[in-house]
């Protein structure tokens, strides 16, 4: 298992935002973390990459406790807001992160190509559109060819063609053996994932494949299927 989370509880600003979440993510898969904004997706992702102070539970990543120093070379993390230097060019940004993770210039060129940013290389990052900046942020995380990629809403604001291309890239990376955890609040991306984690109000509602979800709810449309899961969970309460 690439990720094992057991009974994870997180308290932020005096409120418990994750109420004992447990889940597993298999190696070499693309797992979608789906749920409305504010449901705790980002907090869960922060806990997995080891930057979140947790109140209880265990998070094991690639066999090590989350946040271990040895994991820093093996995980790529992309935050929701693009975390790159606006006052550097795209190339300068990538070269800096490349030096930090100790990869060469050829790798920078390769990554730029894979996120379709080559022609923006010498542009100042702050002059790019939101979607382009998000791809610079994604590219920075790809540099070190991490075994686990944790991507917080990487496709927000992208045009449909580019979005499809990126999902293609994610599957390519998974095909090469990487594990990807990708969050989204748009259910129409759920169909792109091998596995789905449905979250709501700080709890995990369901872990299944898109097909299982369709079958078990009798809904072809994944948005409606998610709604059915929510209704079922409210009914159980």
């Amino acid at each position: 298992m690439a990720i094992q989370v057991e009974d994870l509880r997180v308290v932020r600003g005096g409120n418990e935002v994750l109420h004992g979440v447990s889940l597993e993510v298999a190696n070499g898969s693309v797992t979608g973390l789906l749920g409305p904004s504010g449901c705790g997706k980002s907090t869960l992702m922060r806990s997995i990459v080891g930057v979140q102070i947790v109140a209880g539970g265990t998070v094991t990543v690639l066999g090590l406790p989350a946040g271990s120093a040895a994991l820093r070379r093996r995980i790529g993390y992309v935050t929701q807001a693009p975390s790159v230097y606006g006052d550097l060019t795209v190339l300068e940004n990538l070269r800096y992160f490349a030096r930090v993770v100790d990869v060469g210039r050829d790798r920078v060129a390769e990554v730029l190509e894979s996120v379709a940013l080559s022609r923006f290389a010498s542009r100042l990052t702050s002059s790019l559109s939101g979607g382009e900046r998000a791809r610079v942020s994604l590219a920075s995380a790809l540099l070190g060819s991490p075994e686990l990629l944790v991507l917080d809403e990487p496709t927000v604001g992208l045009d449909p063609v580019l979005r499809t291309e990126l999902w293609g890239l994610f599957h390519e990376l998974a095909g090469d053996g990487a594990t990807l955890l990708v969050s989204s609040h748009v259910m129409d991306e759920a169909g792109e994932c091998d596995q789905l984690l449905l979250m709501r109000d700080g709890a995990l509602l369901r872990h299944s494949t898109p097909d299982e979800l369709r079958r078990s709810t009798g809904q072809d449309d994944l948005s409606k299927a998610f709604l059915a899961v929510i209704e079922a969970s409210e009914h159980d309460r």
């Binding site: 080891g50 930057v51 230097y85 006052d87 550097l88």
Partner: protein
């Protein structure tokens, strides 16, 4: 800690500043212009200009680097780049070292310009050599940088960060002895001045720009300044958290 990552960070900070030529121009020109202003404020009173202007050459970089660093670090925190760096194989010392190298170089450039203007064009005296003032200026700049890094942790916005300058730097400037000899201050203030790092920074500069022999006291001053810089850097490292709420 790795030299590769430290130098990469220094280079990155300098590249960021290079994209902002106006800031570079302000950094280099403003201290020199202020010195010119001071020269004519004290027109005809060369001795006053000498006692205030000469040490001031070595204090400008302290003030400027405090401001620049606290804003740069605050941006690093608020734009999420710090959080990204904390998930990467980068030691906190790499980040602090990179900042120190970058801002040290910038301070050196600033010190050279202000010292050339002061000691060459405006006729200030540096009996022990203008180079000594420039070296002290760089040390002071690093002290300002270290303090700026540390206090940036306590600011949530750039407005707050800017306010730390009058809050933390002005009192030190007033008490360090630059404007009024410390012996002439109220005894409480005199006592307080002993624990403020800028007091030692100023004392070293005053000795470096006076005709008296340097003596051992300047070495103590320099050691205190270096010690305070390292202490502030250590405190700054503590504020760089890998895990946050």
């Amino acid at each position: 800690m790795s030299a590769r990552v430290t130098f990469a960070t220094a280079r990155r900070v300098l590249e960021q500043i290079r994209h902002d030529p106006r800031t570079i121009a302000l950094l280099l020109v403003v201290p020199a212009l202020l010195l010119v202003l001071l020269r004519y404020v004290f027109d005809g009173r060369e001795s006053v200009f000498q006692t205030i202007g000469a040490p001031l050459c070595g204090l400008f970089p302290f003030i400027v680097m405090f401001l620049v660093t606290s804003i740069t670090m605050l941006r690093e925190r608020t734009t999420g780049t710090l959080e990204r760096l904390m998930t990467l194989p980068l030691a906190k010392l790499d980040l602090l070292g990179g900042y120190a190298i970058a801002f040290g170089l910038l301070a050196a450039a600033q010190a050279v310009v202000v010292c050339v203007v002061g000691f060459v064009f405006l006729g200030l005296d540096a009996p022990h050599g203008a180079w000594l003032v420039a070296v002290l200026a760089i040390l002071n700049a690093l002290l300002g940088m270290a303090l700026g890094l540390f206090v940036s942790a306590f600011a949530e916005t750039e407005f707050q960060a800017v306010q730390f300058m009058p809050a933390l730097i002005f009192p030190q400037l007033l008490l360090c002895g630059l404007f009024v000899a410390r012996d002439d201050m109220a005894s409480v203030l005199y006592a307080i001045s002993w624990v403020l790092p800028l007091t030692y920074a100023y004392d070293a500069l005053a000795r470096a720009t006076s005709i008296e022999p340097l003596g051992a006291r300047i070495a103590i001053d320099v050691l205190v300044v270096i010690g305070c810089t390292l202490a502030a850097l250590a405190l700054g490292a503590v504020t760089l958290r890998r895990r946050t709420a």
